[in-house]
Subunit: 238 residues, 4 copies
Amino acid sequence: MGDKGGTPPALRADARRNRAQIIDAARALFLRVGVDVPMEEIAKAAGVGVGTLYRRFPDRAELIKAVSLDNFARLVELAERVEGAEPDPAQALTTLLRSALELRLGITMTALSDRAYRAIQSSPEIDELRDRVMAVAQRLLGRAQAAGTIRADIEIGDTMLALVLVSRLVPPAGDDLAEMVFQRLFALVVDGLRAIPGTPMPGRPVTYEDINELRRSGGLGGFGKFAPADPDESQRAR
Amino acid sequence: MGDKGGTPPALRADARRNRAQIIDAARALFLRVGVDVPMEEIAKAAGVGVGTLYRRFPDRAELIKAVSLDNFARLVELAERVEGAEPDPAQALTTLLRSALELRLGITMTALSDRAYRAIQSSPEIDELRDRVMAVAQRLLGRAQAAGTIRADIEIGDTMLALVLVSRLVPPAGDDLAEMVFQRLFALVVDGLRAIPGTPMPGRPVTYEDINELRRSGGLGGFGKFAPADPDESQRAR
Amino acid sequence: MGDKGGTPPALRADARRNRAQIIDAARALFLRVGVDVPMEEIAKAAGVGVGTLYRRFPDRAELIKAVSLDNFARLVELAERVEGAEPDPAQALTTLLRSALELRLGITMTALSDRAYRAIQSSPEIDELRDRVMAVAQRLLGRAQAAGTIRADIEIGDTMLALVLVSRLVPPAGDDLAEMVFQRLFALVVDGLRAIPGTPMPGRPVTYEDINELRRSGGLGGFGKFAPADPDESQRAR
Amino acid sequence: MGDKGGTPPALRADARRNRAQIIDAARALFLRVGVDVPMEEIAKAAGVGVGTLYRRFPDRAELIKAVSLDNFARLVELAERVEGAEPDPAQALTTLLRSALELRLGITMTALSDRAYRAIQSSPEIDELRDRVMAVAQRLLGRAQAAGTIRADIEIGDTMLALVLVSRLVPPAGDDLAEMVFQRLFALVVDGLRAIPGTPMPGRPVTYEDINELRRSGGLGGFGKFAPADPDESQRAR
DNA sequence: AATGAATGAGCATTCATTCAT
DNA sequence: GATGAATGAATGCTCATTCAT
């Protein structure tokens, strides 16, 4: 067989197609219904049987990972394209943030539910892609701060969390009022990022590393509900 | 005694105690685990049997309503107290927002899940309390705008949604890093509200009425997942 | 105290009133809803709390027994009155049967459900009253047969079962069509009893003793559903 | 192959087998225990898990419908066979009635419980089969009346209700006394149908349409308990 | 490899019965 | 003695996951 030993054993054409359809269906349904949407519903939306879904993704966590990976890949592509195209760093950052939201990736579910959070933990591939996106964002932020167009007392962690916040408001396509509301909130938060001089911020700038720390301690996992995690929570994880 | 009518025929002392314990347990678990926590878990946390829980609240929706009502009552109390105590309107508004969050009411779940949203719909008592809170906030906002300390191009709907956003970040007590992050994000959003001159905002100021409209059209219900509402969603409602 | 040692310790006036109200409510609801109607519903209909109901009747079986006893007492009264008043035996029997049905006692639930059946078993008081009703019926039947106005090839057991059958059709007051249908079926069955010469009947006349035998073997218990009792059924009895 | 359309997409062999087993088990248990038997018990009797049962029949009502449909199909087969084979109409009618009972279909639960009644309502397939059975019965009745072997003052509705009555007595196989009792009662009712001249019947002949009317108004639904229908009963329907 | 059937554990809810007030 | 609260077992139904076809 043409299998060159690689981890993913090179899918047959139809299998690859199925895989893609499943991911698309899952992304849409995760977004529309939630990460808890019945597997069968995802399978149906993808036009396959559950069996097929499970053959490709052994359990829900794997599916969530796959969707996330795909999402982050799109973000990487976006980030690098924006950085290359827009010379003004504040403008580039803003565009990056807005475009990231408009991709409707639920950026990228980490913030959305315990379940998604736990599923995504410990995926080096995802970590790698996220790092790449963050690197771009960090560069843009630094340049904008140097240029004096973004407030100096924040770090990329603050920025990113602001983004996660606003991501909750991304409306489904077609609702005009909700769309306007979203755009306004986005603008408002961007104004917060730009505020110079802003109100002196409490604490110290939040770094990417802080975010990872938060993630590790469960401090981010609970956004999907209200708030995170107590120890025995893990039992619920299945 | 103080019973000025009597549809709910005045609970026995122990029953009232249980009722309160259930609401407390539910509030905590809704916050920590989500509105979907198993009823049994709530009962256990309240130290009663499921039967007792169900006697008091015929179904989950009723329990959600009761918790919300209680939450809003606290908010009313807070709002009116703050308004009476702090003469500077911008300061009063900020304090109100921050304190509302620190009450950890999940302000107040409307934004959190379809289920909560649907449960709360059509509760005139809740509507009434919410209106009172909004009235205070609106007054404070207006005065602050008149005083030039809050940007003029927003309305109470914008403010409220900003609050809903940040409410997602309220951390469980005791996590210092998460607490700091939350405080910073709060400050950042407040700076957005204060930004004068801010970036010109798209659309038009979002009123309380707009929010109600959004709510009605399902445009707010879905924040708990990623995004709201397609027609057949309602089937899922039970 | 004034308790003369008798088994029923002489209830206080209000207690006696409660007892009567409960029995009335239970009779009505057993008839309208079924013997499985929630105890709480019975209590409410009787205007008492469940506690009171249970104090008077330790469990559902006792309540069923009490209702049955009351019903049979009414039947005894009826039977003896009719026998005394109507000289023509066939006419008297017919009147007895029809009146028994029109009392809407569900004559008297034995035939109605496993549960009722089991509850009533082994109640000597009920047995005694039933015996008295049967004695009257038997006398009337015998005289009518002697007079040649009821077919000779049946016995009181046949008659009684025919009655049980028709009792299923007793409609709620006020439904004219159902009432007519019931009266016709009753007439039809009476014509069957009168048929002379009828089709030769299979088997032999069914006596009261046969009925008791059937009851004992469970052969009557199942009328409430379709058919009776297999051994392990008893587990369901509670 | 024989699939001339395909809404039910042709079950796999094992699934078809399971489906049949479930229907058989349900028919038996509905008959023996009642339509309220725990679903789990049905599943166990069918040798499958509850899940399987529910996959095939989304809820109890669907299962009841399926059993009824199957039952009526058997009745149609019986009716048409009897009509074709027996030239004497009164004899044919009698045979049809007796055989229908001996099929032990609980003919066919409509008369048995509110729940069954409600489940069956609005099933055009069932209606159609029932109509076919009734058509045969009506023809036979008409011919027998023309031949003077069945009384002239009744209609098919009367006949059918008489049958429903007797159906309550169908005993479980193997109980000789109960079997004899049943046969006698059947004979007695048949004699009632044949009574010429019978006692003048009250009201007017009851047609099939009357029966449907009764059914519609709930006047038949309640036979399973004692008596039907008050308005708020419907709440109990679930 | 795809499919869809089967399984069973999980959770909501009801209600008989017991018990504190 | 009356009341209505508390309990928990029973049952309907859903859905993740496994497995036969």
